[in-house]
Amino acid sequence: MLEASTLSLILDGISWILISIGSLFLVVGGIGLLRLPDVYARLHAAGITDTMGASMMVLGLAFQADSVLVVIKLLLILVFMLFTSPTSTHAVAKAAQSSRIRPMTGPTGGESSKS
């Protein structure tokens, strides 16, 4: 038997956790975008913001929605993002290949972290 106030406290807590995790991954994605050496490696950082960052934010918001319809709309946004983001990522990768940008290979630990 949960009282309404307890329930809303639990929902707030879940939102709080999910949005914090989402924010953390968004920040890490941003750091990765700056730290990683070339366009191909940076796509992986963009992938973090697209998947984990966005999903956790949307899920966190879903627990704050006041009706089922809003939850469904938020989940639809998530579904569309999960369908479209690989397509745009692939477009960037393909464009980079077409402009003959050669991907860096091999271990790079050390030098690129200074900047």
Binding site: F25, V28, G29, I31, G32, R35, L36, P37, D38, Y40, A41, L43, H44, A45, G47, I48, D50, T51, M52, L69, I72, K73, L76, L82, F83, S85, P86, T87, T89, H90, A93, K94, Q97, P103, M104, T105, G106, P107, T108, G109, G110, S112, S113
Partner: protein, 163 residues
């Protein structure tokens, strides 16, 4: 014609979920516009098994939780690489086999690879996918071929159920 009817049902369900206004007039307009769209799509002959792959639904729903779990694990792995002080990445290009028979299956596989952080599909051709992997672990994870096998399972439903 059955596919057009199915398209209408799908459109109308989405309309119901997004609308939130259920007066007779508004709902009637919703029905009319969904029917119009289904009819136009039917006339344009753009409704086929590839554009409207409803038959994959159940198998796709089985695949999705596995994919989401892989994405979470990969996210944590790549996030660790990024915040590691020495940035211990070791990017490489690998080629993996895409054993799916249909184009749709290969697209699902390539998109799954890209969606998983640490691996990005660069090019798909002749049943092979060039993948940019951020380190050895990401490359090895893909080379086990488990994702390929799982997508092939969805794909066999697409090909096997007849054209």
């Amino acid at each position: 014609m059955t596919r057009a009817a199915l398209l209408f049902v799908v459109l109308f369900v989405v309309w119901l979920l997004l609308s939130g206004h259920y007066t007779p007039l508004i709902t009637g307009l919703g029905v009319a516009s969904c029917a119009l769209v289904a009819w136009i799509a039917h006339r344009m002959e753009v409704i086929d098994r590839e554009s409207h792959p409803l038959h994959l639904g159940p198998y796709f729903l089985l695949y999705l939780p596995w994919l989401l779990w892989e994405i979470i694990k990969a996210n944590i792995a790549v996030a660790r690489l990024i915040i590691h002080p020495r940035l211990p990445i070791s990017p490489r290009i690998i080629t993996v086999a895409a054993s799916q028979q249909s184009i749709l299956g290969q697209v699902i596989y390539a998109n799954s690879i890209t969606l998983t952080p640490g691996t990005v599909s660069l090019a798909v051709e002749d049943g092979k996918i060039d993948v940019h992997a951020i380190d050895e672990a990401a490359a090895l994870g893909l080379e086990t071929g488990e994702m390929d096998r799982r997508v092939s399972m969805i794909d066999s439903r697409h090909v096997g159920a007849g054209k």
